[in-house]
């Protein structure tokens, strides 16, 4: 069987045939080892460059505010914001946990709902005809319009309205992406399953669902940061005053501008955490596959 090894080295180890896709994360040894040191160097610059840029922006910002004498309501100095972050830190953690919790609950609900609806729509034509326009219409719904209505429906002493807003926002990208993935069956797999006399259910279980997984994960990655945005914006319209969004609006209303910015900074961090978690989940799940949905 020496011939086999010849084959694998001759093609450089990453013989993906006609499937060569971007970002061969799970690629075989040889190519990765060669690219190693160079990639590590690039990895460092990927982190260092934006950090230097960010520090530079903060320094310029500080100078413009202090030297230029900008009024605090227009733009507070970074040092003033940092001071507020320190002073409000326990409150920031508490409110971030509430908003993060709402975003997470809504994200999970919307994700499960989006995937289930897409599977249902893929299996039953009638369901697809019924659901697709509704979901697409939902993508055009501004959550701004929904938030006060939900608050009135469920009362202002519960987290339900915010979570529902997040759910609606999340369902759309997850449904669209999953539905697209379920349609992406390669013709050769289609033929194969017919030749093997597979039932519809087997076809879905063995080919369509696993094939759609990268698309499902892309939907999750897109939805994760949107969930945080929805959770924060939903708080601007009344209800409980325990999240980041309500703190931002009340601080701004009380002319405590530096404090408002401190909560804005916390919101940015929360959004980044969700974004990175979504990205990591996508990478982990699709690491053994060539190509992918993105």
């Amino acid at each position: 069987m020496s011939a086999d090894r010849g084959e694998i080295t001759a093609s450089g180890g990453v013989g993906t045939g006609g499937l060569a896709g971007p970002g061969g994360v799970g690629g075989a040894g040889g190519a990765g080892a060669v690219a190693g040191p160079e990639r590590r160097f690039r990895g460092a610059s990927v982190v260092v460059a934006p950090v230097i840029f960010g520090i530079a922006v903060l320094v310029v910002w500080q100078l413009v505010v202090t030297v230029g004498g900008l009024p605090a309501f227009l733009l507070p100095a970074p040092t003033a914001i940092a001071e507020q972050i320190g002073a409000q830190f326990p409150v920031i953690l508490e409110t971030a946990a509430v908003t993060g919790g709402n975003a997470l609950v809504g994200l999970v609900l919307g994700f499960v709902l989006g995937v289930l609806l897409a599977i249902l729509a893929a299996g039953v034509r009638l369901v697809a005809d019924l659901i697709t326009p509704v979901v697409l219409a939902a993508s055009a719904v501004p959550i701004v319009a929904l938030a006060p209505v939900f608050t009135t429906m469920f009362g202002s002493t519960t987290e339900i309205p915010r979570r529902l807003v997040v759910t609606v926002v999340v369902v759309v990208p997850v449904y669209v992406s999953t539905a697209r993935g379920l349609r992406q069956v390669r013709p050769v797999h289609d033929e194969l399953m017919v030749a093997l006399a597979a039932t519809r259910r087997q076809y879905t279980r063995f080919v369509r669902l696993p094939g759609a997984v990268p698309y499902v994960m892309t939907g999750l990655r897109l939805a994760a940061p949107a969930a945080v945005i929805a959770a924060i914006v939903a708080e601007y319209f009344g209800g409980l005053q325990n999240g980041l969004g309500s703190r931002i609006s009340s601080a701004a209303a009380n002319t405590a501008y530096a404090r408002a910015w401190a909560f804005v900074a916390a919101s940015i961090v929360l959004g980044l955490v969700f974004f990175l978690a979504g990205l990591l989940a996508e990478r982990l799940v699709t690491r053994n596959r060539p190509g992918g949905a993105s």
């Binding site: 084959e7 013989g15 390669r186 050769v188 006399a197 087997q202 596959r289």
Partner: protein, 275 residues
């Protein structure tokens, strides 16, 4: 399974039209048990359509189709044939051994039994050590061998192959031809093999069926130059690639290649002004 005496394929007066396009006209073809038959012809001569009719992926417009002594549909439902396409068509998210197990899994064979069978088949195609690999880690030739192992999983009496080596480079292709002959010999399965390559058809086949287009029909049948393999004669050693290479250099091989080429040219000549 079926009695060894039953013909693998029996086609009588098979017509197939797609709208106004006449893809197949009056095709009669019988493939005996264990026989290796190639279909060759220019693009559009209906050779792939013919294979798809046998596989029950297309229904004939007229004529009768029997596969291993039953209807094409029943043969498909019973997984009496194995099939391999030009693309290996492996499922990227499954390991190599899980890909080979797929037909058995579809047919509800138990986990332990189908794993045992799949490992056995990977040994047959010489890829036992790659059982746990992902398809993307394999070269094109190796992927195609996995696809052949998958086709063989239900122990079919008939193997349908639609240009399975068409996407491979010449060296890999010739090695795969030798492998295929050995495998066909060891399993005793009949093979219906669609190809564009004259030498490939000649070296693999007991019979080369030459087709011509508009409408797709059989114009001539030429004897192939298949070297003797272990399945033909149990006393002989397992076929090694050298035996196939030797065949490629015999006068009889060149004669058969010439005969097929002339048959193809004759088919093209009767094609009329459209050609």
């Amino acid at each position: 399974m079926t009695a060894t005496g039953t013909d693998a394929v029996e086609l009588q007066g098979v017509d197939k039209t797609f709208g106004s396009v006449w893809a197949l006209a009056g095709v009669d073809l019988t493939i005996g048990a264990g026989e290796f038959v190639s279909l060759i012809g220019p693009s559009g001569c209906g050779k792939s359509t013919l294979l798809r009719v046998v596989a029950d992926l297309e229904e004939p417009t007229a004529g009768s189709v029997a596969v291993t002594g039953t209807s094409a549909r029943q043969a498909r439902l019973d997984q009496r044939y194995g099939i391999a396409f030009q693309q290996a068509g492996l499922l990227d998210w499954r390991t190599v051994v899980e890909n080979v197990e797929l037909p058995l899994q579809v047919h509800g064979v138990g986990k332990a039994e189908r794993r045992r069978r799949a490992v056995e088949l990977l040994e047959l195609v010489g890829l036992a050590e790659f059982a746990g690999s992902r398809p993307a880690e394999l070269s094109g030739g190796m992927q195609q061998r996995v696809a052949i192992a998958r086709a063989l999983a239900p122990s079919p009496r008939l193997l349908l192959m639609d240009e399975p080596f068409g996407a491979l480079d010449e060296m890999t292709r010739e090695r795969m031809q030798a492998e295929l002959l050995r495998i066909a010999g060891e399993t005793g399965a009949a093979v219906l093999f669609v190809t564009h390559s004259i030498p490939e058809a000649v070296v693999l086949s007991d019979r080369v069926v030459v087709m011509s287009p508009r409408p797709g029909r059989i114009t001539e049948v030429v004897g192939g130059r298949r070297p003797p393999v272990s399945g033909d004669d149990r006393a002989a050693d397992t076929l090694d690639p050298d035996a196939v290479e030797d065949v490629r250099e015999t006068a009889a091989f060149f004669e058969a290649v010439t005969a097929v080429r002339e048959a193809l040219r004759k088919g093209a000549a009767t094609d009329g002004p459209a050609a």
